[in-house]
């Protein structure tokens, strides 16, 4: 039987409402995430000042009296992130340039699928492999008492940030109009000169976005970092000592907390810190991309 016209209108109206609702769902989820982190996390600041939390050097959440200073964790995250960035950014951008500008088409496809495979490997598997291979290697090569160090974490995370950096930088390079390159070549530039002087500057804002998103990936990484950085909550003297990151602290300690305790709230407060950091990084990356669009 044919549906009457008004029935069909009603059906369509309902569907379109659903579509509008789903459309703004992402905004709602971002707000909900912040709301629920804040709801639990801010309870901590009834008992502890926000300065003691951010700048305190002692993280002894279960001793009496407990200390909830996350400075050593922030420094831990910073060490690992800086190390990973130093490794990943030059190599990542160089690979992106090779894949998009130098490699012949067949090789390009193979390299791209290699990078896609790397992006697909779960972080817990990479952490496990890191424990089995990288950690003993670091221990023996640098004659350390343990291979579970910030350096091992930085190496592994640098590696894990590659897919993000390479694929986004490659998109940015591909988006550079072909005529720029052709003009440079027509003027007698070598291919390398046209890449270095013309294509890279033209793609710079996209590359900035790639670097920012790569850093965001590194800061947020949890499992691999927890498995290979040693998890010692103190400020390290150098990169060859164990560190503990913000993410690893949350993942490792949440299972042992009592719901409603200061320790429980403090882990949510760390969640707020992480959320704000990644939020800012994503904003910067987004601005970089949109500057290019104009």
């Amino acid at each position: 039987m044919q549906k009457s016209f008004s029935q069909k209108r009603l059906q369509e109206w309902i569907i379109e409402r659903c579509i509008y609702m789903s459309g703004i769902a992402s905004i709602i989820f971002v707000c909900l995430i912040f709301l629920f982190l804040a709801k639990e996390g801010f309870s901590l600041f009834k008992n502890i000042s926000i300065f003691d939390f951010l700048l305190g050097q002692k993280w002894y959440p279960i001793s009496t009296p407990p200390f909830f200073g996350i400075l050593s964790l922030i420094v831990g995250s910073l060490y690992v992130t800086l190390g990973a960035t130093v490794i990943a950014v030059p190599i990542g951008i160089a690979s992106a340039v090779y894949i998009s500008e130098v490699a012949p088409p067949r090789v390009r496809e193979i390299l791209k699928s290699g990078i896609e495979v790397l992006a697909a490997i779960p972080s817990v598997v990479l952490g496990f492999i890191g424990m089995m291979t990288l950690v003993p290697w670091v221990k023996n090569t640098f004659h350390l008492s343990t291979g579970l160090t910030a350096f091992s974490g930085a190496l592994m995370l640098g590696f894990m940030a590659m897919p993000t950096i390479v694929s986004i930088a490659e998109d940015a390079l591909n988006a550079v109009p072909k005529r720029y390159k052709e003009a440079a070549l027509a003027l007698g530039a070598t291919r390398w000169q046209s890449i270095w002087r013309v294509i890279l500057p033209a793609a710079s804002s996209g590359i900035v976005a790639a670097v920012m998103l790569g850093i965001g990936r590194v800061i947020g990484e949890t499992m691999a970092v927890m498995m290979i950085t040693g998890n010692a909550a103190r400020i390290p003297d150098n990169i060859f000592q164990p560190v503990r990151t913000l993410t690893a602290t949350v993942a490792a300690e949440m299972g042992e907390t009592v719901r409603g305790s200061d320790h429980y709230y403090s882990l949510f407060a760390i969640g707020i810190v992480l959320f704000i950091i990644t939020f800012c990084i994503n904003l910067i990356a987004d601005f970089a991309v949109h500057r290019k669009a104009k």
């Binding site: 459309g23 905004i27 989820f29 639990e40 817990v124 890449i195 498995m227 994503n282």
Partner: protein, 283 residues
């Protein structure tokens, strides 16, 4: 100082090639290594039995089943929401402030650290909505995490359907929603499928979001309802490689291999689907 530009080019390209090799070669090594070490552990018994003696013996069957349940649950929540959201962005949204905010929110959802999703899931689903640590809470947490993947891929698929298809449909008097349903969506289906598979592979491999929302340390039975805890492969691998001493290496590598196989084969299917339909496309 080297003056000859062609010689410089050779040096530069060699360095670029080395950088690329540094990225890609370890990937091959890792795959080779896990397959080589984990191969012996894989047997029918390993895949189909409950773990015994504190996970030191027996198989990983409940972890595999738990992961399958979780992935299915994730899709149930994420797929409709993600596709409708992409339809909104691609077909309905005007170029205004709200749309800009929606896009920014999606980028942010994609960038939120996975462990923060775990905290969020714990706060809202486990505690606030009182689902407890359960398949339901875990699936919903993972669903919000994979939402950006589904939205972005679906949107690309919808955007790639030529505008003229829509115009022809409108000119025949077809309404907007019927045009989307009968003209746009069928052509976008391969892209949507790709997004779905990538979301599944992400959900299957993530550990941090399920740590406090569903994962059971050791549970040698299958979950009976959506309010049950469950074991999951990635968490199981984490547990047996860091928390339980004296486990045979073989078991660890075997678990890693099974997880890797599931995730990579899903990705492979996604790549094949994409390539197949790209070739078939007529516009």
């Amino acid at each position: 100082m080297i003056k000859n530009p062609y010689f410089r080019e050779r040096i530069a390209f060699t360095l670029l090639f080395i950088a690329t090799a540094i990225v890609v070669l370890p990937v091959i090594c890792i795959l080779f290594f896990i397959v080589k070490e984990g191969w012996h552990a894989i047997s029918w018994e390993f895949l189909s039995q409950m773990p015994r003696k504190g996970m030191r013996e027996g198989g990983i069957f409940p972890a595999i089943v738990g992961t399958l349940y979780l992935v299915f649950g994730t899709l149930v929540f994420a797929l409709p929401l993600g596709i409708l959201s992409a339809i909104y962005l691609s077909e309905y949204a005007k170029d205004n402030f709200l749309t800009r905010m929606v896009k920014l929110a999606i980028i942010n959802l994609a960038g939120v650290p996975s462990v923060v999703y775990g905290l969020f899931g714990l706060g809202i689903f486990v505690v606030f909505l009182k689902f407890g640590s359960s398949l339901l809470a875990g699936s919903m947490t993972l669903a919000i995490m994979v939402l950006p993947i589904i939205i972005t891929t679906t949107r690309e698929a919808l955007d790639s359907v030529p505008q003229s298809f829509r115009q022809v449909s409108y000119s025949l008097g077809v309404s907007k929603w019927d045009t989307i349903r009968h003209v746009v969506l069928p052509h976008a289906l391969p892209g949507i499928l790709t997004g779905m598979i990538l979301a599944v592979s992400r959900a299957a491999g993530e550990t941090a979001p399920i740590l406090f929302t569903v994962a059971a340390f050791y549970l040698p039975r299958l979950p009976k309802s959506i309010f049950d805890q469950a074991m999951a492969l990635p968490y199981h691998l984490y547990v047996i490689s860091t928390q339980v001493p004296n486990i045979k290496l073989e078991v660890r590598y075997g678990t890693a291999l099974v997880l890797l196989m599931i995730v990579l084969s899903l990705n492979l299917i996604a790549i094949i689907v994409r390539a197949h339909f790209r070739k078939k496309r007529k516009w």
